[in-house]
């Protein structure tokens, strides 16, 4: 698997690179570490102002990539390149196409809480338009030097669309040679006060959702090829955060989510539940693009 790491000379870049290394090693593939610099006007100006600026950018990009080179070392085969583009989003997508990358790896905005993810401007843009999977490293993500990808957990709901997401996640698991776990979130809604129907009515709804989810997961697993193995779990809690805490997580695990089927075909577009999962996940996540409904039902 060829991972395109969107690298910048800050902590977010380092975290993305760390995740890129993990993925490249797991798949026995390679990385393309790319830093995007602003496109200069290219017109000769009397005072060569633009050319000087271009020179500065080039130097900056070189320094940045040197830093990345030092971080990667011999841990994974990697190419390093800089690209001038009108925007980081366009630059990354064009590079991904040119280099035939299999996924894009990005870091979190610095606005996120430590250990969780929040998309910045570039990531948001890429997530809205990327035709390929996007891996996201949470803020302050720092796997140990021996960290290995251990498992991919795929968040599914019990809708027909999520079978497709699970199949995609299963393909990724096969390439990375890790087991798959299907996880359905049951986030218990607040109870309404006061009410004549008792003060446990929402638990009744949530327990029904659990039962539905278990049946849905069974159906999805039966639709998957036998290898690599797939298990199922239900994350149940009052908030997304506590739901995450209710299931065990392995060291080196990632969570995969499907993009909303409301977005353009073959593009990544986050639904509201997927966005909540990304923002509450304490582990790296992988956003899989929606494949269209033709094969899903």
């Amino acid at each position: 698997m060829k991972c395109l790491v969107g690298y910048s000379a800050d902590q977010g870049g380092c975290e993305a690179l760390a995740l890129g290394i993990l993925l490249a090693r797991a798949s026995g593939g390679s990385m393309v570490v790319c830093t995007i610099v602003p496109e200069t006007w290219g017109h000769p100006s009397m005072a060569r102002v633009d050319a000087e600026y271009a020179g500065f950018l080039e130097q900056h990009a070189r320094k940045t990539l040197d830093k990345a080179r030092a971080q990667v070392g011999k841990r994974a085969p990697a190419e390093f390149l800089s690209r001038a583009a009108p925007s980081a989003r366009e630059g990354l997508l064009a590079t991904a196409k040119d280099m035939a990358a299999d996924c894009i790896v990005l870091g979190s905005s610095r606005g996120a809480r430590l250990g969780s993810f929040l998309e910045g401007g570039v990531t948001s843009g890429v997530l809205h338009t990327a035709p390929l999977p996007v891996a996201l490293a949470p803020r302050s993500y720092a796997p140990g030097p021996r960290a290995r990808l251990s498992r991919i957990t795929c968040a599914v709901s019990a809708t027909p669309g999520s079978t497709q997401t699970a199949i995609r996640a299963h393909e990724v698991c096969a390439r990375l040679q890790v087991p798959l776990r299907l996880l359905t979130f049951v986030v218990r809604d607040r109870q309404m006060y006061p009410t004549g129907v008792g003060y446990q009515a929402e638990n009744m709804v949530a327990n029904q959702l659990r039962a539905q989810a278990a049946a849905g997961q069974k159906a999805i697993i039966s639709a998957l090829p036998p290898k690599p193995p797939a298990t199922a779990a239900i994350a149940d809690g009052k908030t997304w955060k506590s739901a995450f805490g209710s299931v065990p997580w392995k060291e080196g695990e990632m969570i995969a989510v499907g993009s909303s089927n409301l977005g353009p075909l073959l593009r990544v577009f986050l639904g509201s539940n997927a966005a909540k999962i990304l923002h509450s996940a304490p582990i790296p996540s992988l956003v899989l693009p929606w494949q269209g409904s033709a094969k899903s039902d």
Partner: protein
């Protein structure tokens, strides 16, 4: 093998308490979820919050013409009946270790037949009262429009095409559809689908708003009080008072929210009756004060057919629009929240019924994206919306009272039966003065019921026949207990 069980066995089979507990178990971390977290004060506020708003804003227009100024007495009578039933209900609720609706309590203690019957009454209590409240809301919304924009909505869009002539339903009048009521129901439906809930805090705010505007009404109207308006006090005699009390019982619907909290409150033996009686005293005194002051400033003859009554009275009295504006705003906000709560209750009762197999599966499908029972909510909204759009509120109020009274009569009877058949079952709360109090509760329910008008009886009868047919055609065969019994029979 659906014929395995006799009709009697079906009607009497009870839902095991373990099943009830597992149905409402919390997330894994909080199993054994008996967190007794509600204080008596909070519980009283729940009682006040869920009761005020279901009628006091509109009910005078209907009941003053029936009882005259003696409607004050009707409020007290209805309040006493509500208190008696709430106390009986609290004992039944406290026999089950989980908090639920009177349907689920009846299912676990009195059997499927009674539970189904109670549920039919609850549908009237919730579904019909949601429609009734929405209709009343539309009057206040229109009042708000009139004050703010100088003109209200066209009359054709404001009231139902059916009119209650006396109580006989007939087509006529200038209304085509009660549009604001429909819009309100669907707004609440959207909120419920999205999972918006009124929290205990939101309830406290709503209680303040409701009590605030009612207090303002009382304080302003007391300045224009004229005792001569109260003469003659009871032009229609005791019959009028009783008939009005039956309708007014509707305004106490919601007090049962206190009874169901038995498992969540600290020391229920002491705190449940305190909360029920405190809530009842607060609510009844507010109602009586509102009724007395309203009657003090407006002759009884002018109440009939008055929409957004309290706001109009303020406007006429003061000659200014701002007090009416404040009151209309308060009513629009708080009645909105009441509609939300009542609709919520209706969806969850149907949810519980369909989980038990009494209704088709559609009602308990949870949408995995919104994590709420979307289909059930939409079906409820459509039905309630249709009723609110096309049926006049007078009929709805009486029907709500009918459903609630019958349900509580059954519950009170059940409490007495269970003392005899299950004397050893643990009870967190016991009705004081047994058996006098339950007997009084039953007698008072019957008294209010017989005074309701004949149209209500007809509608209630039609509803029960429909429900019974559905039970024997569907529910009895599809009950979760039927399947369990059949499985046991096959094993055995």
């Amino acid at each position: 093998m659906s014929e395995a069980q006799s009709l009697g066995a079906r009607l009497l089979r009870k839902k095991p308490i373990e099943m009830l507990v597992s149905d409402t178990a919390g997330a894994d971390s909080e199993h054994g979820h008996l967190r007794r977290g509600i204080t008596p004060f909070q519980l009283t506020m729940f009682g006040v919050g869920s009761t005020i708003g279901t009628g006091i804003f509109f009910v005078l227009a209907q009941t003053v013409p029936t009882a005259g100024p003696a409607v004050i007495v009707s409020f007290v009578i209805a309040g006493i009946v509500a208190g008696l039933t709430a106390l009986c209900y609290a004992e039944m609720a406290s026999m089950i270790p989980v908090s639920g609706s009177s349907y689920s309590y009846a299912y676990a203690t009195l059997g499927e037949g009674v539970a189904y019957f109670v549920a039919c009454c609850l549908i009237l209590e919730y579904g019909i009262s949601a429609a009734a409240v929405a209709v009343g809301w539309s009057g206040y919304l229109n009042k708000l429009f009139e004050i703010v924009f100088g003109a209200g909505l066209p009359a054709a869009l404001l009231s139902a095409p059916l009119v209650a002539d006396g109580y006989a339903l007939a087509f006529g009048g200038e209304g085509i559809i009660n549009l604001p009521a429909v819009i309100l129901v669907f707004m609440c439906c959207l909120l419920l689908i999205r999972g918006s809930k009124e929290s205990a805090k939101a309830n406290a705010v709503m209680v303040l708003i409701k009590m605030g505007v009612l207090a303002m009404f009382i304080l302003i109207t007391v300045t224009g009080f004229s005792a001569s308006n109260l003469q003659p006090f009871a032009p229609f005699g005791f019959a009028g008072i009783s008939a009005a009390a039956g309708t007014i019982f509707f305004t106490y619907v919601g007090l049962d929210a206190v009874s169901t909290a038995g498992e969540e409150v600290e020391n229920p033996k002491r705190n449940l009756p305190i909360a029920i009686i405190a809530a009842l005293l607060i609510v009844t005194s507010l109602y009586v004060l509102v009724a007395v002051t309203a009657l003090g400033v407006q002759p009884a003859a002018e109440f009939e057919g008055q929409e957004a009554g309290l706001a109009t009275i303020l406007e006429n009295l003061t000659g200014h629009t701002w007090p009416a504006l404040v009151l209309a705003c308060g009513a629009v906000i708080s009645v909105f929240s009441v509609t939300l709560v009542v609709l919520y209750g209706q969806t969850r009762i149907l949810f519980a019924m369909s989980r038990d197999g009494m209704l088709p599966e559609l009602f308990y499908r949870v949408n995995p994206r919104t994590m709420s029972p979307v289909a059930c909510t939409i079906v409820v909204a459509i039905f309630v919306g249709l009723i609110a759009a096309f049926v006049p509120d007078a009929v709805l109020w009486d029907l709500t009272s009918m459903g609630t009274l019958v349900a509580f009569m059954v519950v009170s009877t059940g409490v007495m039966i269970l003392r005899r058949t299950r004397p050893d079952m643990p009870r967190g709360f016991r009705v004081p003065f047994f058996p006098v109090l339950p007997l009084l509760s039953i007698a008072s329910c019957i008294y209010l019921i017989v005074n309701l008008n004949p149209t209500t009886f007809k509608l209630f009868g039609v509803w029960l026949v429909f429900a019974a047919v559905f039970y024997f055609a569907y529910s009895a065969r599809n009950s979760r207990l039927e399947k369990a019994a059949n499985a046991a029979a096959v094993r055995g």
